[in-house]
Symmetry: C2
Subunit: 251 residues, 2 copies
C-alpha cells in the first residue's frame, strides 16, 4: 500500500497527506470538487489533481476525507478499490455493497488550519471489513502515530459524541467564562492555570473523582447567588441545568 489517492482537500486531507508523504507513502493524486482547492493541495504534495471522480488513477488505497454529508455521493461515483474514510460519525456500512476492501481511519483530533499539530500523538481509530484489510490500515496508522486503536463503528460513534462533550462543549464553557469576565474587564488568561490544573488531574484520575465546585458541594447558596449575577437568561439556564446534572451524577 504505497500509492494513495486523497479524495478531499480540507483540514484532515491536508494534514494526512503531508503526514503520509513524510512517512514515505506516495500521494499519487488529489481530488476535490473545487479544482482550485485540488490544485492547492496537489502543489503542497507535489502531485496530480482532478475535480472529476471518473478520472481517478489506479491506487493501492483511496482515502476519502470529505464532509460527512458528501461521503455517499462520492462513493457512488467510484469503482471498486481498496478504500477508507476518515469520519467519526459515519459507519463502515456506507461502503456496502460496492467495495470489497474497505474501512475507517479516523484521527481523533480537531484539525484547524491555524494550529500546528503533532500528528504522532493523535489517536487513530481503525476499522476494516476484514482482518487482513484492517491490518493494512493499522500498519499505515502506526507509521503516522504511536496511538492506534481498533474500534468498531458503534464505538466510534459514541467516541464522537464523547469528543463533542469533552472538546466542543468544554470549549463553549471557556467561551462563556470569557464573556462573563469581559463584562468586568478581566482578562480570560487569568483562568488558564486553573484550566490546566483541571486537565492535569485527568492524567491520573477519572473526571468524576476530581469534580469540584458549588454543585458537588450542594452549596445552594452559592449556586443561587451565581444564577442571580448572570445576566443572560440562556446562560442562567445552562448554569442551572449543568449544576443539576452534577448533583444528580454524584447522588
Amino acid at each position: 500500500m504505497k500509492n494513495i489517492i486523497l479524495v478531499g482537500s480540507g483540514n484532515v486531507a491536508t494534514h494526512l497527506g503531508i503526514a503520509l508523504q513524510n512517512c514515505n507513502y506516495k500521494i499519487i493524486q488529489v481530488y476535490s470538487r473545487s479544482i482550485e482547492k485540488a490544485k492547492k493541495l496537489a502543489q503542497k504534495l507535489n502531485t496530480n489533481f482532478t475535480n472529476d471522480l471518473t478520472q481517478l488513477k489506479t491506487a493501492d488505497l483511496i482515502i476519502v476525507s470529505v464532509n460527512d454529508d458528501a461521503i455517499s455521493t462520492v462513493l457512488s461515483k467510484l469503482k471498486n478499490t481498496a478504500i477508507a474514510h476518515t469520519s467519526g460519525s459515519i459507519g463502515m456500512d456506507v461502503f456496502e455493497p460496492n467495495f470489497s476492501d474497505f474501512g475507517v481511519l479516523y484521527p481523533l483530533q480537531t484539525f484547524n488550519k491555524e494550529i500546528e499539530l503533532v500528528i504522532s500523538e493523535i489517536p487513530f481509530c481503525i476499522e476494516g471489513n476484514s482482518k487482513a484489510f484492517e491490518k493494512e490500515l493499522i500498519e499505515i496508522a502506526k507509521k503516522l502515530s504511536s496511538n492506534v486503536i481498533t474500534m468498531n463503528s458503534e464505538q466510534r460513534k459514541k467516541l464522537h459524541i464523547a469528543a463533542v462533550f469533552a472538546c466542543n462543549f468544554s470549549n463553549h464553557m471557556y467561551s462563556i467564562a470569557d464573556d462573563l469576565l469581559a463584562e468586568k474587564d478581566v482578562d480570560f488568561k487569568i483562568l488558564l492555570p486553573l484550566i490546566k490544573q483541571t486537565i492535569a488531574k485527568l492524567n491520573t484520575n477519572k473526571p468524576k473523582k476530581v469534580q469540584t465546585g458549588p454543585a458537588i458541594r450542594k452549596d445552594m447558596h452559592v449556586i443561587e447567588e451565581h444564577i442571580n449575577l448572570i445576566q443572560q437568561e440562556d446562560i442562567k439556564e445552562l448554569y442551572q441545568k449543568i449544576s443539576n446534572s452534577i448533583i444528580k451524577t454524584h447522588e
Copy 2:
C-alpha cells in the same frame, strides 16, 4: 507583616500555610472549630493551635480560610485586627464595620488534598480597603506567586462564576464523555490528546475563535443523530441546550 494566624484548616489554609512558611512568614497559631484538625495543621507547621476564637494571639495579619457560610460567624467573634479572607464569592463588605484594615487574598485554584500544586503559578486576586493595606497584601501574594492581580469584589464574584464554567462545568463535560465511552468499553484516556489540544489553542486564541464541532457548523444531521444515540434524557437535554447556546453565540 511577619506573624500570621490561620483561621481554618482545610485545603486552602493548609496550602497557604505551608507556602507562607516557605517564604519566611511565621504562622504563629492555627485555629479550627475541630481541635483535631487544628492540631494536625499546627503540627505540619510546627506552631500553636486552638479551637477557641477568643484565645487568638496578637498577630500582624489573620487569614480567614473557612467555608463561605462560616465567614461572618467567625468574624463576629474576632477583635479588630488586620485581616483578610480567601474567598472568591464573598465581598469585602463582610468585614464592615468591625475592622479597620481588611481585604481579600483569593488564590484562583482548585485545591485538592491529593493533587500537588505549584503555588507560584496560581493567580492571586487581591483587594484591600485602603491602598496602604492593599499594598501589604500584594507584597505577601508576590512572595507566593508570580501572578498577582488587584481585583474588586464585583470582578472577583464574576471571576468565580467564570471559573465554575471553565473548571467545574468543563470537568463535568469530561465526566459525561467518560460515561458515554464506558457504555462501549472505550477508555477515556483516548480523549486526552484532544482535550490537551483544545486547551493549547487558548494560549493564543479566544475560545470563541477556536470553537469547532457540529453545533458551530450548524450540522443538524449530526446533532440529531447524536441526540438519538444518547440514552439518558438529561444528557440528551444538555447536548441540545449547549448546542443551541453555541449556535446562538455564533450567530
